[in-house]
């Protein structure tokens, strides 16, 4: 018994660097070998709502997609944009992209480049990218009232007169759905306050896990329909889109978020084990001290 106690006491006062090593491995291994750590991802209620909302749309509907994140929040949000574009393109929905963050342009061009060709979508007919405009919520207010005056040209500088799909929209009311991929300000909160709520357009959002607490109140009272909360939300939505595509006979490679989720789980388990170890040692040393003194 004494030996076991000593082991635990030693385990309770590990050098920081051993913890760092273990946390590093618990993240690295699932990334290198995702197959070993594949965990079943059971979509939760919020992600299911988002999926159902998008599934309800028919082909020919128009969706406004807003890119409001940058390279540092890419691990959590970019998998959502890829899964969302797969879902929208497979249902032949017209996608209109805008960016409220300067880096949003890099993110939108990368996302379209990765997905649009798989479905043979043509620029200007099936999807258009209007690019970044400075101004935060002022941009949202303009989109709500008159989008054509705000975007004389698209991201490549081509005037919107000769983009066929731009003839069908004048303001946010001509869109059947708005989806905000947000990592901070300006983001989903401003979309609700200045565009979708006043004009009554259905809206969903995908955001970083740190931001979820500020946006959940809007989800609870229905102003935003469901939410993809951080990386777990992205993994769950990827899972839903994969099963949907399988039912249509298409197959897509498993998304980034799914493999990263197993790394998340492993890291969290390692941290919880450390906490439990720390407490067992603390309990034992406290008893020894009490017995000793």
């Amino acid at each position: 018994m004494e030996l076991v106690k000593n082991i635990f006491i030693k385990l309770g006062s590990l050098d920081r660097r051993i913890i760092f090593l273990l946390v590093g491995l618990s993240v690295l291994l699932p990334l290198l070998k995702p197959a070993w750590f594949a965990l079943p991802i059971r979509p939760k209620q919020h992600s299911q709502i988002v999926f159902n909302e998008i599934n309800k749309l028919e082909s020919g509907n128009r969706v406004l997609l807003s890119f409001e994140y940058g390279p540092s929040t890419m691990p959590e949000i970019h998998p959502m944009s890829i899964a969302l574009l797969n879902h929208l393109f497979v249902k032949d929905i017209k996608v209109y992209a805008v960016a409220l963050w300067p880096d949003g342009d890099f993110m939108s061009t990368d996302a379209f480049a990765e997905v649009a060709d798989d479905y043979g979508k043509k620029y200007g007919i099936d999807y258009v990218n209007l690019g970044y405009k400075i101004g935060g919520e002022a941009v949202i207010k303009n989109i709500a009232s008159d989008i054509l005056s705000l975007y004389p040209t698209d991201i490549k500088g081509k005037s919107i007169e000769n983009i066929p799909m731009m003839k069908e929209v004048n303001n946010v009311e001509d869109f059947d759905f708005v989806f905000s991929l947000s990592a901070g300000y300006p983001g989903s909160k401003e979309w609700v306050q200045y565009a979708t709520d006043p004009k009554g357009i259905p809206m969903s959002t995908g955001c970083t896990s740190i931001q979820v607490t500020d946006i959940v109140p809007y989800v609870e009272n229905g102003q935003i329909r469901g939410i993809l909360a951080g990386m777990p939300g992205a993994a769950e939505y990827e899972e839903l889109v994969k099963t949907e595509l399988k039912s249509r006979g298409l197959v897509i490679k498993s998304g980034e978020a799914t493999s990263m989720m197993s790394a998340q789980s492993m890291a969290h388990v390692v941290i919880v084990i450390f906490i439990i170890l720390g407490n067992i040692t603390y309990y034992l040393t406290r008893n020894n001290k009490r017995k000793g003194s």
Partner: protein, 343 residues
């Protein structure tokens, strides 16, 4: 004396009253000032001050180098880094691009081939109709950091006797243009350093929770329990924890809370074991194995903890902080708090 001491205090009180009561005054000029211009002025003054800061940092690093103090070669690296950033920001744009115009129809396909093969452009098939659609010259979507790099491509296009123009992005826009030297510095030096420092937090979160989440007293236990439940509840693994494990933990928790009130040790242990047996017995009898009740699932408990007790704590904290800020601002506006002016 008057200029140094009294005028700054008058400015603080005057501007404080103006920005506070400006919210109520029905005058367009003041409303604009309070909503937009006040902070814009601050941003401008802060931008001037940044040069002051950089000069101070440079002075200290140079002193270290001249006096050969400990770690002086690293200070040389800092000065070099600063010089490189200033060079990329102010002296060398490195954002050249080529505009080709009046291309006749037959040359479009060969030009597209050269461009895709030379510059590895992503969507080659869309280039031909872009060239046709462009009236005042087609901008090749590649930013060249050096003029010589652009000239190589122009030589290749010479054979099509297209007239070509080597242009450069305007000053100021070159900072965020994807190909320029400054954005190369941002994506290859600044961004990796910044996001890796940010990523260090994953290790520090682990070591901090390992060291700090110890059951020292009841408050630390609450901290620990809430932390663990939140951590497990948000990852897929949290759902795999069966209901009876949670049941046992709850009984242990109740036992720990009631322990100080029950004197002898034996009574507490018998209570806990009795509780566990009872809980499991009822559970299996009620067939909880197939449809465990919501209350015994970690993700559900996590949602409840996050929606109610945490929001209560945050609300009390937010009101407390807001009151602290209101009182400190009041003391500044009334002129009682003046130490930052060095009276």
């Amino acid at each position: 004396m008057f200029l140094k001491r009294h005028i700054p205090i008058f400015i603080v009180i005057g501007v404080g009253l103006l920005t506070l009561f400006g919210h109520f005054i029905n005058h367009k000029g003041i409303q604009d000032f309070v909503e937009k211009d006040a902070l814009q002025w601050f941003e401008i003054i802060a931008s001037f001050a940044i040069f002051l800061g950089s000069l101070n940092m440079l002075k200290l690093q140079m002193l270290k180098i001249i006096r050969k103090q400990k770690n002086w070669p690293y200070s040389a690296l800092a000065v070099l880094g600063f010089a490189f950033a200033i060079f990329a920001g102010f002296f060398y744009r490195g954002a050249n691009y080529i505009v080709i115009s009046d291309i006749n129809e037959s040359n479009i396909i060969p030009i597209t081939e050269i461009l895709t093969e030379e510059l590895q452009l992503k969507k080659p098939e869309s280039i031909p109709d872009k060239i046709r659609a462009s009236e005042d010259g087609y901008e090749i979507p590649k930013i060249f950091m050096t003029q010589s790099g652009a000239e190589i491509i122009m030589e290749k296009l010479e054979i099509f006797d297209v007239n070509m123009e080597l242009k450069s992005k305007k000053w100021g826009a070159h900072l965020t243009e994807r190909g320029s030297l400054f954005s190369w510095m941002f994506f290859n030096i600044f961004n990796p350093l910044s996001s890796t420092m940010f990523a260090l937090l994953a290790f520090f979160v682990a070591s901090a929770s390992y060291r700090a989440f110890r059951i020292r007293n009841f408050e630390a236990t609450l901290l620990l329990v809430a932390g663990i439940i939140l951590m497990l509840g948000r990852v897929p693994i949290g759902e795999l924890i069966p209901w009876w494990v949670v049941a046992i933990l709850i009984v242990f928790g109740l036992g720990a809370i009631s322990a100080p009130w029950i004197k002898n040790r034996k009574m507490v242990f018998s209570l806990i074991t009795g509780g566990i047996v009872l809980f499991l017995g009822v559970g299996f009898a009620m067939g909880w194995n197939q449809t465990p009740p919501q209350i015994l699932l970690i993700p559900v408990i996590q949602d409840w903890i996050f929606d109610y007790p945490t929001t209560a704590g945050s609300r009390a904290l937010m009101i407390g902080i807001a009151l602290g800020i209101v009182a400190t601002s009041f003391r500044i506006i009334v002129g009682i708090e003046r130490s930052f002016l060095g009276e």
